[in-house]
C-alpha cells in the first residue's frame, strides 16, 4: 500500500512538473528571425518600429529583425540566403526582391503560400496586377508584395525656360523628346556642361524603352522570351542614336556617376531623366531649390503611356519551423499596419492598393499623383526561372549596342536565343 502510494505521489509530482513545463513552453513566444537588406537609416528605423509594433500586438510571436547587407547588383543578400537555406538554417522571413521570386520558387527555395493566403484572406484584388504576378509562380503564391515603385520622366523646369521651352509642356512623343534634348544640351570645350537627355541614365533600362516603343518581352501564350521583338529592337536602335550623337564615353560617365550621393539631375547636369517616386523626397532634402516636373515616359505616338514597376516582397524560405507565424508577420508587413507605417514614413508606394492615396505625403504633394495613375498600368518583368539572366543579357545587349559592338537586332537576337535555350525552349 505504502509503496503504491509513493509511486502515485511520485507520478503526480512528475505530472505536475511536466504540465508546468508544457504551459511554460506554450507561453514562451515563437521566435522568428527576419532578414532585411535595407541599408538606409530611415528605412531601418521604420522596419524596427514595425517589428516592435508587431511583437506588441502578437505576444505569442517574437520577431527578431537582422540587417543582412546586400551584395552584387543591389538585390539583397542572395548569396547569404542561399547558403543559409542549403545549410538547413534559414531565417524565417526575408525581405526579397520580388523580381527574383519566380526564379527562386522554381528552384524550390521558398514555401508555397497559396493555402495560407486563402485562410488569412489575402487575395489578388488587394494588390496591383504586376505585384501579384511577380509574387506568383505557376499559379501558386510564393511571396507577399511589400513596397513598389514605377517610372516616369523628370524634367528641369528652370532649364526648360532658359532653353525657350514651355515648362508646363513636357515632351510626349519620342520626336519631341529628341528635339528638346538637343535644345537643352550645353557644351563647354570638349566637356558637356549639361546633356539634355540620356535615355539609359538611371531608370532608363531597356525595359523602360522596349515597353514605351510597344515592344513585348515575353509571349504570353508560349512563355518564350521575345526580347528581339521589333518594338524592343526599335527602342534600342533609338538609344544608340544618342550614343552616336553625344560622345558615348562622356555620356557613360554621367551614367556611372548615378547612384550614391551624386544625382546628375539634381546637380543640373542633365535636364531630363527617367526615374521613380523615391526621388521626390530625396530632392526635398538634397536639392530644395530644384524646380522640376514629372510626366509620362514619351512614346513614339504620344499616347498609350505605360511604365514598369518593381519592388520588394516577403518570402518564407523552405524549411522554416514556424511557417504560420512567419506568414502572420509577412501579412502584417504586406497589407497590415506594418505596410502602412513603412509607406507613410519612407514615402514609398505600397503594393497593397488601398494604402497609397491615404498617405499624408501623397495628399500634401501633387507631384506623387502621376505615379498612382501609372501604377495600375505598369508592367512587371517576365516571371521566368531565369529572370536574372534575362536582366543581365538585356543590360549587356544595351551596353554593347551603345558601345558599337554589334547592331541592336543581332545583339537582341543573341540574348533572346540564349535565355530561351536556358529556359529549355
Amino acid at each position: 500500500m505504502k509503496k503504491s502510494m509513493k509511486v502515485c505521489a511520485g507520478l503526480l509530482i512528475a505530472l505536475f512538473i511536466l504540465s508546468n513545463c508544457l504551459t511554460m513552453a506554450a507561453k514562451k513566444p515563437v521566435e522568428l528571425t527576419y532578414w532585411y537588406p535595407n541599408g538606409l537609416s530611415n528605412e531601418q528605423a521604420v522596419l524596427k518600429k514595425a517589428v516592435d509594433l508587431f511583437n506588441q500586438q502578437n505576444p505569442d510571436i517574437k520577431v527578431k529583425g537582422e540587417f543582412v547587407g546586400a551584395s552584387g547588383s543591389g538585390q539583397g543578400a542572395t548569396d547569404k540566403l542561399m547558403v543559409a537555406i542549403s545549410g538547413g538554417n534559414p531565417p524565417d522571413v526575408v525581405t526579397f526582391d520580388r523580381f527574383m521570386v519566380g526564379q527562386w520558387a522554381d528552384q524550390g527555395l521558398f514555401e508555397n503560400l497559396t493555402a495560407l493566403a486563402r485562410t488569412h484572406k489575402i487575395s489578388k484584388n488587394q494588390f496591383y496586377d504586376f505585384a501579384w504576378q511577380e509574387a506568383s509562380y505557376k499559379g501558386n503564391l510564393y511571396a507577399l508584395p511589400f513596397d513598389t515603385d514605377t517610372r516616369a520622366l523628370f524634367y528641369n523646369k528652370k532649364m526648360f525656360k532658359e532653353a525657350g521651352l514651355n515648362p508646363e509642356k513636357p515632351p510626349l512623343t519620342i520626336k519631341q523628346l529628341d528635339e528638346y534634348a538637343a535644345k537643352l544640351t550645353k557644351k563647354e570645350g570638349n566637356r558637356y556642361r549639361v546633356i539634355g537627355f540620356i535615355p539609359w541614365l538611371q531608370q532608363g533600362w531597356l525595359y523602360t524603352w522596349g515597353w514605351s516603343f510597344g515592344g513585348r518581352f515575353q509571349d504570353p501564350k508560349t512563355g518564350r522570351i521575345t526580347a528581339n521583338d521589333p518594338g524592343v529592337v526599335k527602342a534600342l536602335e533609338w538609344e544608340t542614336t544618342y550614343a552616336k550623337k553625344y560622345d558615348i564615353e562622356a555620356v557613360t560617365n554621367f551614367a556611372t556617376a548615378a547612384g550614391g550621393d551624386i544625382n546628375p539631375f539634381a546637380a543640373g547636369m542633365v535636364a531630363m531623366v527617367i526615374s521613380g517616386p523615391w526621388e521626390i523626397s530625396g530632392f526635398k532634402v538634397n536639392a530644395p531649390n530644384l524646380d522640376y516636373g514629372i510626366s509620362y515616359i514619351p512614346t513614339p505616338t504620344g499616347a498609350n503611356f505605360h511604365s514598369w514597376a518593381g519592388g520588394w516582397s516577403y518570402v518564407i524560405p523552405k524549411g522554416v519551423k514556424n511557417k504560420e507565424a512567419a506568414f502572420r508577420f509577412a501579412k502584417f508587413m504586406s497589407v497590415g499596419e506594418g505596410a502602412r507605417i513603412y509607406g507613410e514614413e519612407t514615402t514609398h508606394f505600397m503594393s497593397a492598393k488601398a494604402l497609397n492615396d491615404k498617405f499624408n505625403w501623397f495628399k500634401e504633394d501633387p507631384k506623387y499623383k502621376i505615379f498612382v495613375t501609372l501604377l495600375p498600368k505598369s508592367f512587371c518583368r517576365p516571371v521566368i526561372p531565369k529572370g536574372q539572366l534575362l536582366w543581365d543579357e538585356l543590360v549587356n545587349a544595351t551596353d554593347s549596342a551603345l558601345n558599337g559592338k554589334g547592331t541592336p537586332k543581332e545583339l537582341l537576337d543573341k540574348a533572346t536565343a540564349k535565355v530561351n535555350r536556358e529556359l529549355g525552349y
Binding site: E249, A250, N253, D399
Partner: protein
C-alpha cells in the same frame, strides 16, 4: 620461475606501444589538424570535382550530366570574354607591379632623411580594405565629378573616361592595383637589404656605374623575390574579383570589358543557380594556374640566382 619471462614478453609489446617515441603520438597530435584538413579542404575539393559533372544548383544535388557543364562553357561567349579579359589584365598587372614594386623599393632603400616615413606612406594603401579602395577610386576616377579629372582639367589635359570606356576600364583597375602594391614593396625592400654592401663596394672599385650596379648586382640577387612575386602576382591577377565587382556593381560594364573570370564564376554560382558550371570553371582555373606556376618555375632555373650557391 619459467612463467616470469613469458609474462614479461607478454607485457613487452604494450610497453612498446606506450613508448614515448611510438609513431602513434605524432599522428594523435596531428589529428585535430588532419580532421580539419580533411573536412574543410580535401572533402570540399573532391566534392567540387564531382559537382562539376552534375547540374547542382547550390542547394539540391543535381543529376549527373557528364561533361555538359564544360561543353556549355566552351560554347558560351561570355565565358571566353571573361577568359580574355582576365589574361589581358594579368599580362598588364604582373609586369606593371613588378616594375613599379622594384622601382619604389629601390627608391625607398636609398639613404635619405625620413626614409621610414616614406616607407609607411607606401604601405598605407594596403591597409585599406579592398571594397573601400574600390569605392574611393570609383569617386576619384569619375570622369565628370572625379578629383583626378578635375586636376587634369585644371592643368589643361583631357581627362580619360576611366571606367566609362572599354579602352580605359582595365588600365583604371591596373592603376588601383599599383596603388596597393605596398606588400610587394616590402618583400623587395627585405631582399635589397639582404644584398651585402661589399658587392657594391667591389663594383665601385672596378669602376661600375649606378646602372651597372643595378642590372648586374641588384636585379640578379633580387631574382628569388621577383620569382615569388611573379607567381603570387599571376595567381592574384587571374583571380581578380573584388575591384571590378564593386566598381561595376557586378555587371562588368562597359561592354563586358570588366567581366573577369572569377566574377563570371560567382554569377554562375549565386545568381544563375549553376553551381555545377561554377565548379567546372573553378577547376579549369585551377589547372591553368597550376600549369602557369609550373611553367614559371621551370623557366626560373635560367634566371633566378640564389645567394650562397
Amino acid at each position: 620461475m619459467n612463467a616470469q619471462p613469458s609474462m614479461v614478453s607478454k607485457k613487452a609489446p604494450r610497453k612498446v606501444f606506450f613508448a614515448a617515441n611510438h609513431p602513434i603520438y605524432g599522428w594523435l597530435f596531428a589529428l585535430p589538424w588532419l580532421i580539419g584538413l580533411t573536412v574543410f579542404y580535401i572533402y570540399p575539393l573532391c566534392s567540387s570535382i564531382v559537382y562539376s559533372f552534375t547540374s547542382f544548383n547550390g542547394i539540391v544535388a543535381g543529376r549527373f550530366v557528364g561533361g555538359r557543364n564544360y561543353a556549355d562553357l566552351m560554347a558560351d561567349e561570355t565565358f571566353w570574354i571573361a577568359v580574355k579579359n582576365t589574361f589581358v589584365f594579368a599580362a598588364m598587372a604582373v609586369p606593371a607591379s613588378l616594375i613599379f614594386g622594384i622601382l619604389v623599393a629601390v627608391l625607398l632603400n636609398a639613404k635619405i632623411r625620413g626614409r621610414g616615413v616614406y616607407r609607411v606612406i607606401a604601405l598605407i594603401p594596403t591597409l585599406v580594405p579592398v571594397v573601400a579602395v574600390s569605392i574611393i577610386w570609383q569617386w576619384l576616377l569619375n570622369s565628370q565629378f572625379g578629383l583626378v579629372n578635375y586636376l587634369l582639367y585644371r592643368v589643361g589635359l583631357p581627362g580619360p573616361p576611366w571606367f566609362g570606356s572599354e579602352l580605359w576600364a582595365k588600365p583604371s583597375i591596373l592603376l588601383i592595383v599599383i596603388w596597393t602594391i605596398g606588400a610587394n614593396i616590402l618583400t623587395y625592400l627585405a631582399g635589397l637589404q639582404d644584398i651585402p654592401e661589399s658587392y657594391y663596394e667591389a663594383a665601385a672599385i672596378d669602376g661600375a656605374g649606378a646602372r651597372h650596379k643595378f642590372f648586374r648586382i641588384t636585379l640578379p640577387l633580387l631574382s628569388p623575390i621577383i620569382l615569388y612575386n611573379t607567381i603570387m602576382g599571376i595567381i592574384g591577377a587571374l583571380q581578380q574579383f573584388t575591384l571590378a565587382f564593386v566598381i561595376t556593381n557586378g555587371q562588368g560594364t562597359p561592354a563586358n570589358s570588366m567581366m573577369f573570370y572569377a566574377m563570371y564564376l560567382y554569377k554562375n554560382a549565386f545568381t544563375y543557380f549553376k553551381m555545377g558550371t561554377a565548379n567546372a570553371m573553378a577547376w579549369m582555373m585551377f589547372v591553368v594556374v597550376m600549369a602557369l606556376t609550373v611553367f614559371v618555375f621551370t623557366v626560373s632555373k635560367k634566371w633566378v640566382h640564389y645567394m650562397g650557391e
